[in-house]
């Protein structure tokens, strides 16, 4: 299992706007995302996510968001294992976390943990 972590501040500039999350993986890679706020699970979805709202900027101020992603490669040596996470305000702040690696013959599992301190 590959474990990757990123820690960052997430500056709320538009408290009235929703904070959104995108999660994408390469073709055919099963992917699952869990989003938690201060340890409470708010989202769990299988497959890619597109502009999935977490909560409003005002509600998330001074909170801690964790975007936890599990993905698995296609088990073909020529394919890449690519995952991109982006948390953002529409037209405002954004934080991204990307993983690009070589897919393994063994079907490696990738777990990514993006921790955001909302300020």
């Amino acid at each position: 299992m590959i474990n990757k972590s990123k820690v960052s501040a997430f500056r709320i500039t538009k408290p009235e706007a929703q904070v959104l999350v995108d999660v994408h993986s390469g073709f055919g890679q099963p992917i699952d995302t869990i989003v938690s706020v201060n340890g409470d699970k708010k989202i769990q979805e299988f497959g890619n996510l597109e502009a999935k709202p977490i909560d409003s900027g005002a509600a998330l101020k001074n909170q801690q968001i964790v975007v936890h992603v599990m993905c698995q490669d296609k088990n073909t040596s020529t394919d890449n294992l690519d995952v991109a996470i982006k948390v953002y305000e529409e037209g405002g702040t954004s934080v991204s976390m990307n993983y690009k690696g070589e897919a393994s013959e063994e079907g490696e599992m990738l777990v990514m943990d993006l921790t955001l301190f909302c300020i």
Partner: protein, 393 residues
Amino acid sequence: MKKNIKLLTLFILGFSSLWAQEETKEFKLNLLETPSDPAFIIMGNSNTEIETPSNVSDLKTSLQNATNNFSALPSNYALSIAPGWLINGKAISYERYLNDNSVIDNVWQSLQLSLGTSVLNQNNTDFRRMGAGLKFALYRGEVAERTQNKFRQYFQKVHLNIFEETQKEKQNDALYKKLSQELKEAYIKNDSAQISQLEVQLEQRTEALMQKVSDNLESSKNTDLKILTDIKLERTGFFWDVSGAGAMNFYNKNLDSSDLYRWGAWTNFGWKGDTNQFIFMARYLSFTNDPFVTPTEVIDSVKYQSLDFGLKYVWNPTEKFKVSGEGIYRFMLDEGMDQTYKFMVNFAYDVGKNQIINLALGRDFEGVYTKKASGLMYLSYIIGFGNERKLKG
């Protein structure tokens, strides 16, 4: 109609690979279906003329006993292999196995090569028949949505375990909590040098805790995988299979005294739902030498060709029980030969995981010599071993 009742015992031994050495990737699936290899069909002793689409086995052997009351060793054998799974089955992924629509992948994953041999009796004279065939699918349908959901649920459950365990580790780890608090204060002070340093330290600590979770998970994940062992992996939707086969007769236990009995090619296509399935079959057969065997000689082998068209309906009201009816009409392409037909009704019941009892009743084609159709009854017991598939997800 003269009733010629046959009692056959059919044992299918299949799918050889080891159970779950890598627990997160190997699922023990219930793949067993009533078998219908092209080699058996071309030899004329299959319990169905119209093959149903099924997930292939890596390796499958068939033994048939056509003797009375199981009193002798089986005289009919068949061996079927799936090269796509035998050669590189480990490289076929969950996504490509369950969802792939590539014709090349469909052909390679579904390709089955079969060889068979049987002992036949005509006019109290035994002779051996050997057949060889291949079968592949151009379209296989898709694994039912409810089955895919079970895989997804499993994947999500494993992920939730990892997430929750990681959260617990973070909450109980003094260093993680200390670094988090210092980082929050650094954000408030806007101390960029300290922020960068603490972010790196916190990332390293998080990855160390995640590693601890994955190490612990390695030893406890078997339970989750057992959920999947009860899934019967069946496909639904449009399917299209192509088959071809040939058979030879060998007389007087002599390899030199032989001839090509018949060869043919056929295609099956149709639609398979959760409980109903319709299959159409079109088949060309060339009877190169259909012999009339006597104790002393093989007389006047008849040559003819036929075009067969068939329709089969399968109803499986439950996962365990399946009924099917099939009819085949044979158009003889040579003048002076009568058209003929065959029908069969099959009852199959899963008596346990990868174990099926199958009863087939019906009417055979009229013979070209006797001009009489025989009644048919086949009773089969099928058992499969080691139905594992390396899947991910």
